[in-house]
């Protein structure tokens, strides 16, 4: 059997030093060869083995749609005639060239987040968070950022289709109206509606009206990945469909039970901010929070953990039960569960009792200031127990609040809300039995996003009349009789209610680009709702709530982006009698290999599969782009024969192309089997495999169609997110995986600095110092700094940035925000394989420690804006030069593409346009471009500019107002604005009162590669972990 083949010397050196990949840790020759080239071999050729066609497809998704627009420009070769088209009637308050911001609301899966959207002359170009909305606090997720790309996607559904052929709304209503009239007459017998969960109060009103019009109809609300388990657990505990909300800012000790609250859970933007706030090492030994994580996969929350316990999926509930017992034995009463806890089977395998004991001690010591957070994939029983422990520990009302959910209404008899999966199963049964005559699918794709055993796709045909309303012709839309095009959320009115009850209006930024309707409008038509346009529906709903003075209130709501903050009712502790039996329903820990399914961090359940920004954004943990892969730990990988990772060296002889090719594995489970690429991810629980949902879609645009493997094909509705008894076998096939983890390697230089709180408190100055981390002789320049002449960096405004590694969760929102702000192209999988991804900002992910159980470090890395920049010294044409404010300017029109600058950049943050990535855009795609940033041509180098367009806009605004100084906080680069945890701070380092200047003076502040004397303007705050001394000493002993 092949072995891990770790170079013991290098591995020992790396006990502390970070590594990015197993190949780097192993010190393999292939890795050294790969990393020593700036771009992998063959980067400047198009290649033959990988199809050029595929690249063109992805790049020019809309080539076929592009009209012949350029011919008219040929009239004057020197000076094409251009027209200025003024308005006939000027819109109010419009200043051409000055962007406008409108507040709106984004709803997804029953949650709502307030946004501010930037519009240039009426076309939305950029999404930001709304600081006054409590679910955003000014931050955005990568999905929010990327949603703008969907608006202008040329492959969007644009016309009504009947049986796949172009039709019209008129034809649809002509056929549909008699059907629905007949259904009205029989009370809606045989009518089924399918939708996702909705956070929109006005849509709920239309839905209620529809169900009154068709009393016998059934509404199937289904989300592939939902919070049903959370509400079911809370129902057992409180008698209400409720949601726990955590106040991490006040929590000193946090336990996450498979809860990825920094990224995957609802409210994660707020949780990230709050958690970062509680993680301040300057607050001292008792002030900084401590995070314990129990999980099977490896999430970014696991990466932020001080102590992470890897547990097999089926054993995760028993880890919490073990904790509850320990707490009980320390005198804590857990009402409702008391007797039950003792009766359960003993500790499951792999759960360290020392770990649980130390955790129990810690929690007991911090009653009323701890949080136990349970993840949405865990069964209801675990939620009930976790929240009961929160109650017993006195956290309720302090760090945890239970809020009545607005997503699930209890029925009249007060029964538990039906789970989405149950209603979908009922639909499948009804379809089978021929009980469905009309099927209306509103903005949902259950055919793809549901467990394979429901076989929904083969059943839809049994409904005589079926219609799908969606933003794309997806797997569901391809099977229904009719497909209707859906308006994008920036094209229609709506509203939303966040988990904490905050309500807000969603206003459109642009009228529909195509002849589309939104779900509320179609439903209103079908059910004869008094209002028919989305604007009327939303206004009428809120007019009924507001009464007098509605017009003034409405204008204020639209301006603020919030109707009312909070307002969800508290759910009190009132355990149901059934609580006791809940835990007994948990399946016993399984033997053998287990497989879990998780929502992809980027594509979610597949709804963003056709979004190139999200496909190309690397997964935060694996750094895979354009694909998912079966993730297994090194040990399991070894037993499968897919490690070592440098493949088939003896059989075929390793070449560089092979370095990026990975073995495939056949997964057999639940009676289904699937061949997937395998990826070794350090830190996975033993005997655990993880496959992300959302990939392998069939009916999707050109962007998503060849990306990844469909995990739903393996899922079973009895247990949709976990399976045991899994058979894995290596097959004789390789698959190219575009993983960016080894791109732009800094070859083990000490650029990530991290340590324990005790060390930090002992000597803060020493903690991140050069002497400790990077001993080097006095700095000397390779060139004469005086050549730079007039630059005096002590004068005027000097821009700088500080990135706090302690709070960065690694979520990648900054990367997508940067892509949106700076017109950065996507390049496609084949180009990423060649190391040509264009992201100006990359998120380096490092592992530290043991191969089986490492910790994660994240480091956002853009241009460091060196004062003494090496790139500038080698440019033969002066295309990259310094500004008086310390920016390293890039002048695209001077650049001739020698790439010397990139070669000389020690951080490898410069990106080269190998192809003309931007000339395939259709007219609609061009509309999403930020007009304040040049669109770059082939052969030009580009890189982070600190969003200089924002600096200039702020400067002109300040100067027009008569001020020479730009106020602190008036300029925030796109990355910093999107960052949920507020880790990126930007400003004038010459102003001692600015936030950034204060952080630069912080003892944890350090610059990279100081020995080169390049004086980077971006610096980092070293990361501090807060391990439990009781556990740390044990770990050392072990």
């Amino acid at each position: 059997m092949p072995s891990l083949n770790l170079d013991p010397k290098r591995a020992a050196e790396n006990a502390k030093a970070p590594w990015k990949s197993l190949e780097e840790l192993a010190g393999s020759a292939e890795f050294k060869d790969f990393a020593s080239h700036e771009f992998p071999e063959g980067a400047d050729t198009m290649g033959t083995d990988i199809s050029r066609r595929r690249f063109m497809q992805v790049m020019g998704a809309g080539m076929a749609f592009a009209g012949v627009t350029s011919l008219s420009g040929c009239k004057g070769i020197r000076r094409p005639e251009q027209h200025i088209l003024p308005y006939n009637q000027m819109p109010e308050r419009m200043v051409p060239g000055v962007p406008q911001f409108y507040a709106t609301t984004y709803t997804l899966g029953g949650d709502a987040v307030g946004l501010l959207v930037e519009a240039h002359e009426g076309r939305p170009t950029k999404v930001e968070g709304n600081p006054s909305h409590p679910a955003s606090l000014g931050a955005t997720s990568k999905q929010h950022q990327a949603s703008i790309l969907d608006l202008y996607n040329p492959e969007r559904s644009q016309v009504v289709l009947k049986g796949g052929k172009t039709s019209s709304w008129e034809a649809f209503w002509n056929e549909a109206n008699p059907v629905f009239e007949a259904l009205k007459a029989n009370g809606g017998e045989g009518l089924r509606f399918v939708s996702g969960y909705t956070a929109s109060p006005s849509f709920r009103a239309v839905r209620e009206h529809a169900l009154r019009t068709f009393p016998k109809a059934k509404w199937v609300a289904y989300e592939a990945v939902s919070r049903d388990n959370v509400t079911a657990g809370m129902y057992a505990l409180t008698g209400k469909a409720a949601e726990p909300l955590y106040r991490f800012a006040k929590a000193k000790r946090v336990l996450s039970v498979d809860c990825d609250f920094l990224e995957a859970e609802a409210f994660n933007l707020v949780y990230s901010r709050d958690f970062a706030q509680g993680r301040n090492p300057d607050a001292g030994r008792d002030g900084m929070n401590r995070l314990y994580v129990i999980e099977s996969g490896f999430s970014v929350t696991g990466g932020a953990a001080d102590h992470r316990l890897r547990v097999k999926p089926s054993a995760v509930p028993f880890a919490l039960i073990a904790l509850a017992r320990e707490l009980q034995s320390r005198g804590l009463s857990v009402p409702g569960f008391g007797a039950d806890l003792g009766a359960l089977p003993g500790n499951a395998e792999g759960i360290s009792s020392a770990w649980i004991k130390a955790l129990a001690d810690d929690l007991i010591k911090h009653r009323g200031e701890s949080v136990i957070a349970v993840g949405k994939y865990q069964p209801a029983a675990v939620h009930a127990l976790g929240q009961a422990l929160n109650y017993s520990l006195g956290n309720l009302g302090k760090t945890v609040e239970w809020k009545v959910s607005s997503v699930h209404a209890l029925n009249a008899s007060g029964d538990a809300p039906e789970s989405g999966l149950e209603s979908l199963r009922a639909l499948a049964a009804d379809l089978d039995a021929g009980r469905v005559s009309a099927l209306v699918v509103l903005d949902a794709n259950p055919v793809y996003a549901s467990p394979a055993d429901l076989a929904l796709g083969s059943k839809i045909a049994s409904a005589k009349f079926s219609v799908h309303l969606g933003g794309e012709v997806d797997e569901t839309g391809a099977l229904t009789g009719w497909h209707l095009p859906l308006s994008h959320f920036l094209e229609t009115w709506s509203d939303g209610q966040a988990l904490d009850g905050t309500t807000s209006v969603a206003q459109p930024l642009v009228s529909p680009l195509y002849d589309t309707l939104d779900a509320a409008e179609v439903l209103a038509h079908i059910s004869g709702y008094p209002q028919t346009t989305s604007h009327e529906i939303v206004r009428a709903y809120w007019a009924g709530k507001s009464g007098l003075g509605f017009d003034a209130a409405w204008r204020k709501w639209l301006h603020d982006g919030v109707i009312a903050v909070g307002g969800a009712a508290d759910a009190g502790y009132s355990p149901a009698p059934a609580l006791a039996s809940l835990l007994r329903s948990l399946p016993a820990p399984a033997q053998g290999v287990e497989l879990i399914f998780r929502e992809d961090a980027r594509l979610l359940d597949g709804r963003f599969a056709n979004n190139a920004w999200l496909q190309e954004a690397p997964d935060p943990v694996t750094k895979l782009t354009w694909d998912n892969a079966l993730l297994v730990g090194p040990k399991l990988g070894e037993s499968l024969g897919i490690a070592p990772y440098l493949l088939n060296k003896d059989a075929t002889g390793t070449t560089l192309a092979d370095y990026r090719k990975r073995p495939m594995v056949r997964v057999t489970v639940n009676g289904a089997s699937l061949e997937v690429a395998a990826w070794i991810l350090p830190g996975m629980a033993e005997d655990t495999a993880l496959l992300h949902l959302g990939f392998g879609r069939v009916h999707v645009g050109k962007v998503g169609e060849e990306a990844g493997f469909n995990a739903f094909a393996l899922a079973n509705s009895a247990s949709p997110f976990a399976a045991s008894g899994v058979k894995l076998e290596k097959i004789d096939r390789l698959y190219s995986l575009a993983c960016t983890q080894d791109h732009w390697s800094l070859m083990g230089r000490p650029i990530v600095r991290t340590g324990d709180l005790a060390e930090y408190l002992e000597d803060p100055k020493e903690f991140a110092s050069e002497e400790k981390w990077n001993e080097h002789p006095a700095e000397q320049s390779l060139w004469d700094e005086k050549v730079r002449g007039t630059y005096d960096f002590s004068q005027g405004m000097q821009w700088g940035m500080v990135i706090d590694l302690n709070s960065c969760s690694g979520c990648n929102a900054c990367l997508v925000a940067c892509q949106s702000e700076n017109n950065i192209p996507t390049v496609g999988k084949e180009q990423v394989l060649r190391g040509r991804e264009m992201h100006w900002l990359r998120l380096d992910r490092y592992f530290t420690g043991d191969v089986e159980d490492p910790q994660l470090e994240f480091q956002p890395m853009g241009c460091q804006q060196c004062e003494n920049a090496p790139c500038e010294e080698v440019c033969p044409v002066g295309a990259t030069v310094h500004s008086h404010e310390g920016l390293n300017d890039m002048v695209y029109n001077r650049c001739v593409g020698t790439r010397y600058c990139s070669n000389n950049c020690p951080f490898k943050v410069r990106r080269f346009n190998f192809f003309n990535y931007n000339n395939k855009h259709t007219e609609t795609e061009k509309m999403r471009m930020n007009p304040d940033v040049t669109v770059r041509f082939r052969g030009v180098m580009e890189k982070c500019t600190y969003c200089v367009q924002r600096i200039q806009r702020a400067r002109i605004t300040a100067k027009n107002a008569g001020s020479e100084r730009i106020a602190d906080g008036a300029v925030t680069p796109a990355c910093g604005q999107a960052c949920p945890s507020g880790s990126i701070v930007f400003g004038d380092i010459n102003d001692p009162q600015s936030r950034v200047a204060k952080l630069k003076a912080h003892p944890r502040n350090y610059g990279l590669l100081k020995e080169l004397n390049i004086k980077p303007r971006t610096t980092y705050l070293a990361r501090v972990r807060n391990p439990n001394p009781a556990l740390a000493s044990q770990e050392k002993a072990a």
């Binding site: 020197r78 000076r79 005639e81 251009q82 027209h83 200025i84 088209l85 003024p86 308005y87 006939n88 009637q89 000027m90 200043v95 051409p96 060239g97 000055v98 030069v881 500004s883 008086h884 404010e885 920016l887 300017d889 002048v891 695209y892 029109n893 304040d932 940033v933 040049t934 500019t945 200089v948 367009q949 600096i951 200039q952 002109i956 100067k959 027009n960 020479e964």
Partner: protein, 213 residues
Amino acid sequence: MVFPKWTNKIPVILLASVVFFICFVVFAFAYWGSPKNYVVGYQPVQPIAFSHQLHAGQMGMDCRYCHYNVERGRHAGVPPTETCLNCHKIVKTDSPEIKKLVSYHEKGLPVPWVRVHKLADFAYFDHSAHVNKGVSCVECHGRIDQMTEVRIEKPLSMGWCLDCHRNPASHIRDRAKITDLAWKPDGDPAQLGREFMKLYNVNPRTDCSTCHR
């Protein structure tokens, strides 16, 4: 005689042609190829024969009545058709040019004015930043108030921009006189300009990212 007599002229003609050709090439590059010259004089025909000379010159309308945005935004702003109709609902309604204007308005179409002053796409010029610091319209656009049909007067090249960014004094004036295109300072314009530079805090920047992003 093998060759006819006229062949004796061939070397002279050849020489003259070559000299002429070389001169032409040098002149062509120097003149049309130079950014200082190649846009000056561009004067396209506009869809409606609007005369700046009449409106801004004879009638003395302030530039900002139509170019309403010049102090607030990047673009000076071409007026919406409604602005024209503020007067032309009653003035000269029988003129064929005004009839054209009205017909655009009635059809809801924009008037397709032909763009005269155009910088490269990668140059981000901002009107407000200049006008608010005392740079008059005339500095870049010339005597628009004397042009019946607008043409380019100044080179609008990068070198020409930089000339002023490096030595702005003689191009800065009282903000109250911005749109007075005929205004001439009493005495040394540079002397006066320096005073206003101090008053308005004028420090033109020459970093690349000032204009290119």
